[in-house]
Protein backbone atom coordinates (compact mmCIF):
# COMPACT_ATOMS: atom_id res chain seq x y z
CA UNK A 1 0.00 0.00 0.00
CA UNK A 2 1.04 3.58 -0.49
CA UNK A 3 0.47 5.12 2.93
CA UNK A 4 -0.97 8.59 3.11
CA UNK A 5 -2.29 8.65 -0.42
CA UNK A 6 -5.61 6.88 0.03
CA UNK A 7 -8.57 8.93 -1.08
CA UNK A 8 -6.48 11.76 -2.45
CA UNK A 9 -6.49 10.65 -6.02
CA UNK A 10 -9.46 12.06 -7.95
CA UNK A 11 -8.99 9.47 -10.72
CA UNK A 12 -9.05 6.57 -8.32
CA UNK A 13 -12.63 5.60 -9.23
CA UNK A 14 -11.49 5.01 -12.82
CA UNK A 15 -8.88 2.46 -11.74
CA UNK A 16 -9.51 -1.30 -11.73
CA UNK A 17 -11.00 -2.57 -8.47
CA UNK A 18 -9.49 -6.01 -8.32
CA UNK A 19 -6.56 -8.09 -9.46
CA UNK A 20 -8.42 -9.58 -12.45
CA UNK A 21 -9.15 -6.13 -13.79
CA UNK A 22 -5.55 -5.21 -13.14
CA UNK A 23 -4.35 -8.17 -15.14
CA UNK A 24 -6.58 -7.24 -18.07
CA UNK A 25 -5.22 -3.70 -17.99
CA UNK A 26 -1.71 -5.05 -17.72
CA UNK A 27 -2.15 -7.35 -20.69
CA UNK A 28 -3.58 -4.52 -22.74
CA UNK A 29 -0.72 -2.28 -21.69
CA UNK A 30 1.80 -4.96 -22.52
CA UNK A 31 0.55 -5.08 -26.10
CA UNK A 32 1.25 -1.39 -26.47
CA UNK A 33 4.44 -1.03 -24.43
CA UNK A 34 6.26 -4.10 -25.59
CA UNK A 35 6.18 -3.10 -29.25
CA UNK A 36 9.35 -1.05 -28.85
CA UNK A 37 11.97 -3.28 -27.21
CA UNK A 38 14.47 -0.42 -27.03
CA UNK A 39 12.37 1.14 -24.27
CA UNK A 40 12.99 -1.80 -21.92
CA UNK A 41 15.39 -1.85 -19.00
CA UNK A 42 18.84 -2.51 -20.44
CA UNK A 43 22.50 -2.01 -19.85
CA UNK A 44 23.93 0.90 -21.80
CA UNK A 45 27.47 1.79 -22.66
CA UNK A 46 29.24 4.45 -20.65
CA UNK A 47 33.00 4.77 -20.90
CA UNK A 48 34.97 7.30 -18.91
CA UNK A 49 38.31 7.87 -20.61
CA UNK A 50 41.08 8.91 -18.24
CA UNK A 51 43.09 9.73 -21.35
CA UNK A 52 40.44 12.21 -22.53
CA UNK A 53 40.36 13.76 -19.08
CA UNK A 54 44.09 14.36 -19.39
CA UNK A 55 44.86 12.25 -16.35
CA UNK A 56 47.57 10.07 -17.84
CA UNK A 57 50.24 11.95 -15.96
CA UNK A 58 49.05 10.41 -12.69
CA UNK A 59 46.80 7.44 -13.53
CA UNK A 60 49.01 4.58 -14.70
CA UNK A 61 46.20 2.10 -15.31
CA UNK A 62 43.54 1.63 -16.57
CA UNK A 63 43.32 3.97 -19.56
CA UNK A 64 39.63 4.32 -18.99
CA UNK A 65 36.73 2.91 -17.10
CA UNK A 66 33.96 0.88 -18.76
CA UNK A 67 31.26 1.73 -16.29
CA UNK A 68 27.89 1.12 -18.06
CA UNK A 69 24.56 2.31 -16.74
CA UNK A 70 21.00 0.98 -16.57
CA UNK A 71 18.16 2.70 -18.35
CA UNK A 72 14.77 1.83 -19.74
CA UNK A 73 11.23 1.22 -18.77
CA UNK A 74 10.16 -1.52 -16.41
CA UNK A 75 6.90 -2.36 -18.10
CA UNK A 76 5.11 -5.58 -19.02
CA UNK A 77 6.28 -8.12 -19.88
CA UNK A 78 8.79 -8.20 -17.02
CA UNK A 79 10.37 -11.35 -18.27
CA UNK A 80 13.60 -13.01 -17.28
CA UNK A 81 15.51 -10.93 -19.79
CA UNK A 82 14.93 -7.92 -17.59
CA UNK A 83 16.03 -9.89 -14.53
CA UNK A 84 13.01 -8.59 -12.62
CA UNK A 85 12.42 -9.44 -9.00
CA UNK A 86 9.13 -10.99 -7.93
CA UNK A 87 8.36 -7.81 -6.08
CA UNK A 88 8.92 -5.78 -9.23
CA UNK A 89 6.27 -7.87 -11.00
CA UNK A 90 3.79 -7.32 -8.17
CA UNK A 91 4.61 -3.62 -8.08
CA UNK A 92 3.95 -3.36 -11.81
CA UNK A 93 0.48 -4.80 -11.24
CA UNK A 94 -0.19 -2.44 -8.37
CA UNK A 95 1.03 0.41 -10.52
CA UNK A 96 -1.72 -0.36 -13.02
CA UNK A 97 -4.29 -0.35 -10.24
CA UNK A 98 -3.08 2.93 -8.87
CA UNK A 99 -0.63 4.56 -11.28
CA UNK A 100 -0.42 7.93 -9.58
CA UNK A 101 0.52 6.65 -6.15
CA UNK A 102 2.58 3.56 -6.95
CA UNK A 103 5.41 4.08 -9.43
CA UNK A 104 6.71 1.51 -11.86
CA UNK A 105 9.67 -0.53 -10.67
CA UNK A 106 13.07 1.03 -11.24
CA UNK A 107 15.62 -0.07 -13.79
CA UNK A 108 18.77 -0.48 -11.71
CA UNK A 109 21.99 -2.50 -11.50
CA UNK A 110 21.50 -6.03 -10.21
CA UNK A 111 25.17 -6.96 -10.31
CA UNK A 112 28.13 -4.68 -9.82
CA UNK A 113 31.81 -5.43 -10.13
CA UNK A 114 34.85 -3.70 -8.74
CA UNK A 115 37.73 -2.04 -10.53
CA UNK A 116 41.31 -1.37 -9.55
CA UNK A 117 43.08 1.90 -10.22
CA UNK A 118 46.85 2.37 -10.23
CA UNK A 119 48.05 5.94 -9.76
CA UNK A 120 50.81 8.20 -8.52
CA UNK A 121 50.29 10.44 -5.50
CA UNK A 122 51.85 13.87 -4.97
CA UNK A 123 55.04 12.27 -3.62
CA UNK A 124 55.43 9.98 -6.66
CA UNK A 125 54.53 6.97 -4.52
CA UNK A 126 52.28 4.52 -6.37
CA UNK A 127 48.87 3.44 -5.09
CA UNK A 128 46.90 0.41 -6.25
CA UNK A 129 43.39 0.67 -4.89
CA UNK A 130 40.41 -1.62 -5.28
CA UNK A 131 37.03 0.11 -5.64
CA UNK A 132 34.01 -2.10 -5.07
CA UNK A 133 30.66 -1.87 -6.90
CA UNK A 134 31.84 0.36 -9.72
CA UNK A 135 31.03 -1.48 -12.95
CA UNK A 136 27.49 -2.52 -13.88
CA UNK A 137 27.48 -6.19 -14.79
CA UNK A 138 23.73 -6.64 -15.17
CA UNK A 139 20.57 -4.53 -14.99
CA UNK A 140 17.10 -5.45 -13.83
CA UNK A 141 13.76 -4.18 -12.62
CA UNK A 142 13.42 -3.63 -8.88
Amino acid sequence: SAHGHKGRNPNRSKNPKNAQDALKVAEAAAENLSTDPKQGCKKHELYVSFRDLGWQDWIIAPEGYAAYYCQGECAFPLNSYMNATNHAIVQTLVHFINPETVPKPCCAPTQLHGISVLYFDDSSNVILKKYRNMVVRACGCH
Binding site: K38, K42, K43, H44, E45, L46, Y47, V48, L53, W55, D57, W58, I60, A61, Y68, Q71, S80, Y81, N83, Q111, H113, S116, V117, L118, Y119, F120, D121, D122, S123, S124, N125, V126, I127, L128, K129, K130, Y131, R137, A138, C139
Partner: protein
Protein backbone atom coordinates in the same frame (compact mmCIF):
# COMPACT_ATOMS: atom_id res chain seq x y z
CA UNK B 1 17.82 -17.18 -20.94
CA UNK B 2 19.19 -15.35 -17.96
CA UNK B 3 22.63 -14.07 -18.73
CA UNK B 4 24.88 -12.06 -16.47
CA UNK B 5 25.91 -9.68 -19.18
CA UNK B 6 22.70 -8.17 -20.48
CA UNK B 7 22.77 -7.06 -24.03
CA UNK B 8 24.57 -3.75 -24.23
CA UNK B 9 22.96 -0.89 -26.06
CA UNK B 10 25.05 2.09 -26.99
CA UNK B 11 22.92 5.15 -26.48
CA UNK B 12 25.64 7.32 -25.00
CA UNK B 13 26.12 10.33 -27.19
CA UNK B 14 29.75 11.26 -27.24
CA UNK B 15 30.48 14.95 -27.20
CA UNK B 16 33.20 17.26 -26.02
CA UNK B 17 32.67 18.42 -22.46
CA UNK B 18 32.64 22.12 -21.75
CA UNK B 19 35.48 23.16 -19.44
CA UNK B 20 33.12 23.72 -16.50
CA UNK B 21 31.51 20.29 -17.03
CA UNK B 22 34.94 18.76 -17.34
CA UNK B 23 36.07 20.29 -14.04
CA UNK B 24 32.90 19.12 -12.28
CA UNK B 25 33.25 15.62 -13.68
CA UNK B 26 36.87 15.45 -12.60
CA UNK B 27 35.92 16.69 -9.13
CA UNK B 28 33.22 14.01 -8.81
CA UNK B 29 35.54 11.20 -9.89
CA UNK B 30 38.31 12.39 -7.57
CA UNK B 31 35.77 12.43 -4.74
CA UNK B 32 34.84 8.81 -5.47
CA UNK B 33 38.54 7.92 -5.53
CA UNK B 34 38.84 9.56 -2.11
CA UNK B 35 41.32 12.18 -3.31
CA UNK B 36 41.13 15.80 -2.15
CA UNK B 37 42.67 17.04 -5.39
CA UNK B 38 44.31 15.81 -8.55
CA UNK B 39 47.75 14.38 -7.66
CA UNK B 40 50.71 16.18 -9.21
CA UNK B 41 53.63 13.77 -9.04
CA UNK B 42 56.74 15.91 -9.46
CA UNK B 43 59.55 13.51 -10.28
CA UNK B 44 58.68 10.07 -11.47
CA UNK B 45 59.18 7.63 -14.22
CA UNK B 46 56.98 4.70 -15.03
CA UNK B 47 60.13 2.69 -15.77
CA UNK B 48 61.26 2.74 -12.14
CA UNK B 49 61.16 -0.54 -10.24
CA UNK B 50 58.26 0.44 -7.94
CA UNK B 51 55.74 1.49 -10.64
CA UNK B 52 56.68 -1.58 -12.70
CA UNK B 53 56.17 -3.89 -9.72
CA UNK B 54 52.84 -2.20 -8.99
CA UNK B 55 51.78 -2.59 -12.62
CA UNK B 56 52.53 -6.31 -12.31
CA UNK B 57 50.26 -6.45 -9.27
CA UNK B 58 47.55 -4.55 -11.18
CA UNK B 59 47.82 -6.99 -14.08
CA UNK B 60 47.65 -9.91 -11.64
CA UNK B 61 44.29 -8.61 -10.34
CA UNK B 62 43.00 -8.03 -13.88
CA UNK B 63 44.05 -11.52 -14.97
CA UNK B 64 42.44 -13.13 -11.94
CA UNK B 65 39.14 -11.36 -12.60
CA UNK B 66 38.93 -12.88 -16.05
CA UNK B 67 39.18 -16.43 -14.71
CA UNK B 68 35.99 -18.51 -14.43
CA UNK B 69 34.46 -19.10 -11.00
CA UNK B 70 36.26 -21.71 -8.98
CA UNK B 71 39.60 -21.03 -10.58
CA UNK B 72 42.41 -21.03 -8.06
CA UNK B 73 43.03 -17.44 -7.06
CA UNK B 74 46.38 -18.11 -5.43
CA UNK B 75 48.43 -18.63 -8.51
CA UNK B 76 51.88 -17.14 -8.79
CA UNK B 77 52.24 -14.42 -11.39
CA UNK B 78 55.77 -14.25 -12.69
CA UNK B 79 56.75 -11.53 -15.07
CA UNK B 80 58.58 -12.48 -18.20
CA UNK B 81 60.41 -9.21 -18.77
CA UNK B 82 62.92 -7.44 -16.58
CA UNK B 83 64.15 -8.34 -13.15
CA UNK B 84 60.91 -7.65 -11.27
CA UNK B 85 58.74 -10.44 -9.98
CA UNK B 86 55.40 -10.84 -8.27
CA UNK B 87 55.65 -13.90 -6.09
CA UNK B 88 52.99 -16.33 -4.92
CA UNK B 89 53.25 -14.70 -1.50
CA UNK B 90 52.51 -11.31 -3.07
CA UNK B 91 49.41 -12.77 -4.74
CA UNK B 92 48.15 -13.92 -1.35
CA UNK B 93 48.81 -10.50 0.21
CA UNK B 94 47.15 -8.87 -2.79
CA UNK B 95 43.96 -10.90 -2.49
CA UNK B 96 43.63 -9.87 1.13
CA UNK B 97 44.40 -6.21 0.60
CA UNK B 98 42.10 -3.28 -0.15
CA UNK B 99 45.01 -1.10 -1.16
CA UNK B 100 48.69 -1.52 -2.02
CA UNK B 101 51.15 1.34 -1.93
CA UNK B 102 54.77 1.58 -2.99
CA UNK B 103 57.12 4.22 -1.58
CA UNK B 104 60.13 5.73 -3.30
CA UNK B 105 63.42 5.90 -1.47
CA UNK B 106 64.05 9.53 -0.53
CA UNK B 107 67.80 9.00 -0.03
CA UNK B 108 68.93 9.51 -3.59
CA UNK B 109 72.68 9.04 -3.29
CA UNK B 110 74.32 5.94 -1.93
CA UNK B 111 76.54 6.83 1.00
CA UNK B 112 78.89 3.99 0.12
CA UNK B 113 79.72 5.69 -3.18
CA UNK B 114 80.66 8.96 -1.48
CA UNK B 115 82.31 7.81 1.72
CA UNK B 116 84.03 4.89 3.35
CA UNK B 117 80.81 4.00 5.22
CA UNK B 118 79.45 0.64 4.21
CA UNK B 119 76.00 1.00 5.72
CA UNK B 120 73.31 2.20 3.38
CA UNK B 121 70.32 4.31 4.50
CA UNK B 122 66.79 4.39 3.13
CA UNK B 123 63.90 6.70 3.95
CA UNK B 124 60.27 6.51 2.90
CA UNK B 125 57.48 9.08 3.32
CA UNK B 126 54.55 7.32 4.98
CA UNK B 127 52.63 10.52 5.70
CA UNK B 128 50.53 10.22 2.51
CA UNK B 129 48.70 7.03 3.48
CA UNK B 130 44.92 7.63 3.20
CA UNK B 131 42.93 7.57 6.43
CA UNK B 132 41.23 4.37 7.49
CA UNK B 133 43.90 2.06 6.09
CA UNK B 134 45.92 -0.30 8.31
CA UNK B 135 49.15 -1.99 7.22
CA UNK B 136 48.72 -5.75 6.95
CA UNK B 137 52.15 -6.47 5.40
CA UNK B 138 55.11 -4.28 4.49
CA UNK B 139 58.30 -5.20 2.68
CA UNK B 140 61.57 -3.55 1.83
CA UNK B 141 62.88 -4.72 -1.55
CA UNK B 142 66.41 -4.35 -2.86
CA UNK B 143 67.87 -5.87 -6.02
CA UNK B 144 70.99 -8.03 -5.97
CA UNK B 145 72.89 -8.10 -9.25
CA UNK B 146 75.07 -10.98 -10.35
CA UNK B 147 78.72 -10.24 -9.49
CA UNK B 148 81.49 -12.50 -10.76
CA UNK B 149 84.53 -10.55 -9.60
CA UNK B 150 86.01 -10.59 -6.11
CA UNK B 151 83.59 -12.78 -4.21
CA UNK B 152 82.39 -15.52 -6.55
CA UNK B 153 82.21 -18.32 -3.98
CA UNK B 154 81.46 -16.27 -0.91
CA UNK B 155 78.27 -15.81 1.07
CA UNK B 156 77.21 -12.72 3.01
CA UNK B 157 74.80 -11.65 5.72
CA UNK B 158 72.48 -8.83 4.62
CA UNK B 159 70.79 -7.19 7.61
CA UNK B 160 68.10 -4.53 7.65
CA UNK B 161 67.74 -2.36 10.75
CA UNK B 162 65.23 0.23 11.88
CA UNK B 163 66.93 3.47 12.92
CA UNK B 164 65.57 4.16 16.41
CA UNK B 165 67.65 7.21 17.23
CA UNK B 166 70.21 9.32 15.43
CA UNK B 167 72.99 10.09 17.88
CA UNK B 168 75.33 13.09 17.60
CA UNK B 169 78.51 10.97 17.34
CA UNK B 170 77.22 9.62 13.98
CA UNK B 171 76.47 6.21 15.51
CA UNK B 172 72.82 5.15 15.39
CA UNK B 173 70.60 3.28 17.78
CA UNK B 174 69.37 0.35 15.66
CA UNK B 175 66.82 -2.46 15.83
CA UNK B 176 67.45 -5.55 13.69
CA UNK B 177 64.34 -6.27 11.59
CA UNK B 178 65.29 -9.02 9.18
CA UNK B 179 68.36 -10.75 7.81
CA UNK B 180 69.27 -12.83 4.73
CA UNK B 181 72.21 -14.94 3.72
CA UNK B 182 73.09 -14.32 0.06
CA UNK B 183 75.55 -15.93 -2.26
CA UNK B 184 77.74 -13.62 -4.35
CA UNK B 185 76.50 -15.04 -7.66
CA UNK B 186 72.83 -14.79 -6.67
CA UNK B 187 70.64 -12.45 -8.70
CA UNK B 188 67.14 -11.12 -7.97
CA UNK B 189 65.05 -9.17 -5.50
CA UNK B 190 65.77 -9.57 -1.79
CA UNK B 191 62.64 -9.07 0.28
CA UNK B 192 62.73 -8.02 3.94
CA UNK B 193 59.70 -8.00 6.23
CA UNK B 194 59.22 -4.59 7.86
CA UNK B 195 55.53 -4.90 8.84
CA UNK B 196 55.95 -4.07 12.53
CA UNK B 197 58.13 -1.05 11.86
CA UNK B 198 55.72 0.28 9.22
CA UNK B 199 52.81 0.07 11.63
CA UNK B 200 54.85 1.97 14.19
CA UNK B 201 55.74 4.66 11.63
CA UNK B 202 52.12 5.05 10.50
CA UNK B 203 51.02 5.70 14.09
CA UNK B 204 54.03 7.91 14.97
CA UNK B 205 55.42 9.66 11.90
CA UNK B 206 58.14 11.29 14.05
CA UNK B 207 59.66 7.87 14.72
CA UNK B 208 60.28 7.30 11.02
CA UNK B 209 64.06 7.74 10.89
CA UNK B 210 64.47 5.26 8.07
CA UNK B 211 66.10 1.91 7.52
CA UNK B 212 69.73 0.95 7.47
CA UNK B 213 71.20 -1.92 5.47
CA UNK B 214 74.46 -3.55 6.50
CA UNK B 215 76.44 -6.26 4.77
CA UNK B 216 78.95 -8.57 6.43
CA UNK B 217 81.10 -11.40 5.23
CA UNK B 218 80.76 -14.74 7.03
CA UNK B 219 83.72 -13.84 9.24
CA UNK B 220 82.03 -10.64 10.38
CA UNK B 221 83.88 -8.10 8.23
CA UNK B 222 81.84 -5.16 6.98
CA UNK B 223 81.52 -5.19 3.17
CA UNK B 224 80.50 -2.46 0.75
CA UNK B 225 77.02 -3.45 -0.56
CA UNK B 226 77.84 -2.05 -4.00
CA UNK B 227 80.77 -4.45 -4.44
CA UNK B 228 78.56 -7.51 -4.05
CA UNK B 229 75.90 -6.15 -6.41
CA UNK B 230 73.28 -4.64 -4.10
CA UNK B 231 71.75 -1.93 -6.27
CA UNK B 232 71.20 1.48 -4.68
CA UNK B 233 69.90 4.88 -5.76
CA UNK B 234 72.70 5.29 -8.30
CA UNK B 235 71.86 1.99 -10.05
CA UNK B 236 69.55 1.26 -13.02
CA UNK B 237 65.96 2.59 -12.78
CA UNK B 238 64.28 -0.80 -12.95
CA UNK B 239 66.41 -2.11 -10.05
CA UNK B 240 65.97 0.77 -7.60
CA UNK B 241 65.17 -0.25 -4.01
CA UNK B 242 61.67 0.54 -2.76
CA UNK B 243 59.17 -0.23 -0.04
CA UNK B 244 55.74 -1.78 -0.60
CA UNK B 245 52.88 -1.99 1.89
CA UNK B 246 49.60 -3.90 1.69
CA UNK B 247 46.64 -2.30 3.48
CA UNK B 248 43.30 -3.45 4.79
CA UNK B 249 40.50 -0.92 5.21
CA UNK B 250 39.55 -0.45 8.85
CA UNK B 251 36.44 1.61 8.23
CA UNK B 252 33.78 2.16 5.61
CA UNK B 253 34.34 5.57 4.08
CA UNK B 254 31.11 7.50 3.78
CA UNK B 255 31.04 10.16 1.14
CA UNK B 256 29.49 13.44 2.17
CA UNK B 257 26.48 14.89 0.36
CA UNK B 258 27.37 17.79 -1.91
Amino acid sequence: NITLDNEVHSSFIQRRLRSQERREMQREILSILGLPHRPRPHIYTKQNAAPMFMLDLYNAISTDRQQPAGFSYYKPVFTTQGPRMVTQQDSIFLNDADMVMSFVNLVELDQDVLSSRHNREFRFDLSRIPEGEAVSTAEFRIYKDYIREHYENETFHVSVYQVLQELPDSEEDLLLLDTRVVWAIEEGWLVFDITGTSNQWVVNLDQNLGLLLALESMDGQSVNPRLVGLVGGSGPQDKQPFMVAFFKATEVRLRSIR
